[in-house]
């Protein structure tokens, strides 16, 4: 607990993150490289979907991380809101654009995958629709940071929005699933039909870990950026006092 408390100090975090960053960079490059090699050269094409199945190596990690990042955002927002810890709000703010990026990757690669397999760019499938809504939630969250001029206010308002969104996400997901089962046509092929073959699974795991390392790297860079911004604000206040 004491350690956690120390970590929650932005300065300490900054120094620690400096040490982590090179390693996560290295891991991101090597894991993604390995995953891509295995996925593109070693793994055989799927007997049903053919070569298009290779899109899975970017689509699935992006899609899973899209919701994971939202969870990170919600948890750190809660921490910052309850314990009034600035680092929590920095992390949440830094995470949002990354989450939005993963979401848009998931949506677009999903569309590129859907065209050859389903014959259409977009279907109002439960999963696609939920991811689209998640994308809107990310955009809204990023927007909240921008419309408040006072950053303290913005941090609190954004935390509320993140928490409200996190509570609502399962409800939205549930309602969209419900809506989808009511309207589902016969032509849609279920994605999770046969279990994934291990030839596909292993590179997928590498890619997934690589994406996580990427997430950590970018997150660290963005959090450092936020900490510096905070320092800049402090100096600005100091200068305005001396005048």
């Amino acid at each position: 607990m004491k350690k956690l408390h120390k970590l929650a100090n932005p300065g300490k975090f900054y120094r620690l993150s400096e040490k982590i960053l090179p390693w996560s960079n290295l891991l991101a490059i090597s894991l993604c490289g390995l995953g891509l090699y295995l996925g593109l050269f070693v793994a055989p094409p799927d007997y049903q979907q053919g070569e298009t199945v290779r899109i899975i190596y970017v689509h699935v990690p992006a899609a899973t991380l899209a919701s994971l990042v939202y969870a990170i955002m919600a948890i750190t927002s809660a921490i910052s809101f309850i314990w009034k810890n600035p680092l929590g709000s920095f992390i949440a703010k830094a995470a949002a654009p990354i989450g939005a990026a993963f979401t848009i990757i998931a949506i677009i690669t999903g569309a590129l995958w859907g065209k050859p397999t389903w014959g259409t760019w977009w279907i109002w499938d439960a999963r696609l629709t939920s991811v689209l809504i998640l994308f809107f939630l990310y955009l809204g969250y990023i927007g909240v940071w921008q419309i408040f001029e006072d950053q303290n206010k913005a941090a609190k308002a954004a935390a509320i929005i993140a928490l409200v969104g996190a509570i609502n996400l399962p409800i939205i997901k549930f309602s969209v699933d419900w809506w989808n089962t009511l309207h589902q046509g016969a032509s849609i092929i279920r994605l999770d039909g046969p279990s994934i073959h291990s030839d596909i699974l292993i590179p997928l795991i590498f890619m997934w870990l690589g994406f996580i390392s990427y997430l950590i790297s970018v997150l660290i860079i963005r959090i450092q950026s936020e900490i510096t911004l905070q320092k800049i604000r402090a100096i600005q206040i100091m200068i305005s006092e001396q005048k």
Binding site: D150, N152, I237, E241
Partner: protein, 203 residues
Amino acid sequence: MIDHENSIILENVSCDRGNRTVIKNLSLKISSGKSFTIKGQNGSGKSTFLRMLAGFQKSINGKILFKGKSIFSNQQEYQNKIFYLSENNPIKNTLSCYENLFFWAEIEGMENQLQTALEFQNLENYKNLPAKFLSMGQKRRLNLSRLAITQKKIWLLDEPINGLDKESVLKLCKVIEAHLANQGIVVIATHVDLNLETDTFYL
């Protein structure tokens, strides 16, 4: 020691708003039984000071203590003791003076004192007039009438006598003196002197 019980103490309080420090390293003591006046130019942070005392301004450095305890330790209880007169008049234009007062009285649970409140600032004649027909000074007086229907201990008054005539000011001073005699706390932000025995602090 008795004095310590009923006073607000600020220890090294600083307050930032946006990219500006409004209040810096302020340490002072506001005791009951004697009014406390804050003076300063426009934008010197008088209003922020009062909002801080009212517990609205949460992101501050330093300590604000009431009865030896931080005001944020039991905020709801502390804020229930606060009477705050802001620069704005919380008056609904479409409601009559009486209806406006009645709403405030209901919130305070003091409906039986309405007549005194109307008499306090000579507003009986405008009783049923919609508030939009009042002048600025009259609106201020209507807002000040809330003092007659409050039982709260700590009064925070932001520019209370803006646009007030002599007689109203006199009546206001009387009410404040009565409250102080009752061991109440009164903090006034103003740039005009009131005829009161007071501690003064310049921001």
